[in-house]
Amino acid sequence: MLAYLLRRAAWGAATVLGVLLFLFALFFLYATPQDIARRALGEKAPPEAIQQWLVNHGYDKPAVWNPEHPLDTRLAEHVRRMLLFEFGRSDADDVPIAQRLRDGVGPSLSVTVPLFALGLPLALSLALLVAFFRETYIDRAGVVLCVLAMSVSVLVYILGGQFLLGKLLRWFPISGFDPDPSVLLRFLALPVLVGLFAHVGADVRFYRAVFLEESGRDYVRTARAKGAGDARVMARHVLPNALIPVLTNVVVEIPFLFTGSILLESFFGIPGLGSITVDAIQSNDFATLRVMVYLGALLFIAGQMLTDVAYTIVDPRVRLG
């Protein structure tokens, strides 16, 4: 077990390094510091201002190779700062990025956690229902509804939700955010509802496939042969075993609760990490964008390692070879 964990951690570390090198190639070699400075300061900035900006943001060092001080390069600086979580300041307005991240995590979590906590049971129970009635009209209608729901763009869900529930029926505010608990729920209801609609189709389809796959196994036939009824087979035999693939699908998503949802946050005016990302895109803030991609990758890698560990715990068949 320990050897497996160590090997898994080494692989994770290699992937993190790969991400760092990729980001370096993209943001420091392909997009040159001159480009970034010009985008931040404007096309007509004088050369001295650009030079000063480069020095201030640490973009003035040699890229990869510095014969006098081998560690005084942009590559070494980039890797060191990312690994130590020293994110520095935004390229656009010089605000410390770490402070932005701290401010944004709370609002992001307040949308993603309810979405996750409501979405998972909803999708699982719908999928269980559809799988229970497999190869009947209920199943077929369910699958068609899922495909219909999957075919609508998220943008249409958001605009439609805002228009129908916000403007026409006036049930919820169209957008906005207030951390005060007494009104927070009113602001969160619409984004969470829209998020549920946008994800439920694909999720139900996936879980249905998992349930059907389990229903075809030998132990289900055995249980049936011993006289267990449909409901009992589904609840006692299929569901626990199907939860293994479900678990692996879900654990990966948990780290992403922290980064929030780009679309929901910026449409509904929630000042979370998703909004920060959109602002960074719109103001050509490469430093913030770089940090967001890096953090996303880090969380994904952590999620995958968690999943692998969870797998070895819940599924005794997994060999650690």
Partner: protein
């Protein structure tokens, strides 16, 4: 080189590929039966997809008809030629209206804009039909870049194993670990905005999952008896890959192409909304319609046309995709998204 020349070339390439594909399908009994079965299962969806492809091709073939000495005229496609050349108003007009939406000035073409006009006075039906070309470009060009890449890397990793496999797998894990929307935006911001760049960025993010599938399948095929037999007979490695492994991946190529297509078009809609999409896409129309819902009285025809066009295509492609997967491969790809 001007855009319309590239468009013509791309259309010619797609038509050539389609002709080659249909010739291959007709000449191989396996594919002939499968394609007939897919069409039998999803007649309506197949027809809808064919209709979109037809409109897209009509809009791809364009040429100048400027007189000598008059070069300022834009190239117009076959689709543009179906509408009058001066089919514009000054601003919004409702579907089939005779007067402008604001101000009530008489229109230049009263009652002839079936779906109304947008803020710049462009015909919404024309714009919505033109979106089909962009959707086909996104799906087609991205797949043309991503599929060969995925096959080359997946085959190499799966067939040769060892160090090659490690390197490819590390590359795949690296790319897969970055959130795809963020990676897309970062790529486009760095390599520049434009249809080809967007497709390139989409290809970089979408080839990963396909490469994994190819690698897994190749690992399985490598151990099969007929490959072992070929190896025992002294057939060279390259020839084994070309003659015995690659043809057995073709159904995966078709399945992945269809299943990825709708994902790509939906991703572009999100990119459009983030301001880095392709000009003329439905995503951009939806993005522009955002403010119109806040107006009073509201202007909804713009958003309705774009989202209906997008929805119908994605739905049809998803339906055909399910049939393609069931018919070609009922087993291996069940849990793919």
């Amino acid at each position: 080189m001007e855009g319309y020349v590239l468009g013509n070339g791309f259309a010619a390439l797609l038509i050539g590929l389609a002709l080659f594909g249909s010739w291959r399908v007709r000449s191989t009994p396996f594919w002939r039966e499968r394609v007939a079965e897919i069409v039998r299962r999803r007649p309506v969806a197949t027809f809808v997809v064919a209709l979109y492809v037809g409109v897209a091709l009509l809009d791809s073939v364009a040429w100048h008809d400027a007189l000598p000495g008059e070069t300022s005229v834009d190239a117009r496609s076959l689709l543009d030629r179906a509408f009058p050349s001066d089919f514009r108003e000054r601003s919004y007009s409702a579907p089939l209206a005779a007067v402008e939406f604001y101000g009530g000035q008489p229109l230049a073409h009263p009652g002839r804009h079936l779906l109304g006009t947008d803020i710049l006075g462009r015909d919404v039906l024309h714009l919505a039909l033109g979106g089909a070309r962009v959707a086909l470009l996104i799906g087609g060009l991205t797949s043309l870049i991503a599929i060969p890449l995925a096959i080359a890397f997946g085959l190499a990793a799966g067939y040769f194993g060892g160090r090659v496999d490690d390197v490819v797998f590390l590359l795949l894990s690296t790319l897969a670990s970055m959130p795809s929307i963020l990676l897309l935006v970062a790529l486009i911001m760095v390599i520049g905005r434009g249809p080809v760049q967007v497709c390139l960025a989409l290809a970089v993010t979408s080839w990963v999952s396909f490469c994994r599938v190819v690698r897994g399948e190749t690992l399985k095929l490598r151990e099969l008896d007929y490959v072992q037999a070929a190896r025992a007979l002294g057939v060279s490695e390259l020839r084994i890959v070309w003659r015995h492994v690659l043809p057995n991946l073709s159904h995966l190529v078709v399945i992945t192409f269809v299943l990825t297509f709708s994902q790509l078009v939906l991703s572009e809609a999100i990119l459009s909304w983030l301001g880095v999409g392709i000009d003329g896409s439905w995503g951009q129309m939806i993005d522009q319609a955002r403010d119109e819902l806040a107006r009073d009285p509201i202007i909804g025809w713009n958003l309705a046309a774009a989202s209906t066009a997008l929805f119908a295509l994605i739905l049809a492609v998803n339906r055909v995709g399910d049939a393609v997967r069931d018919v070609l491969d009922p087993r291996t790809l069940r849990d793919s998204p």
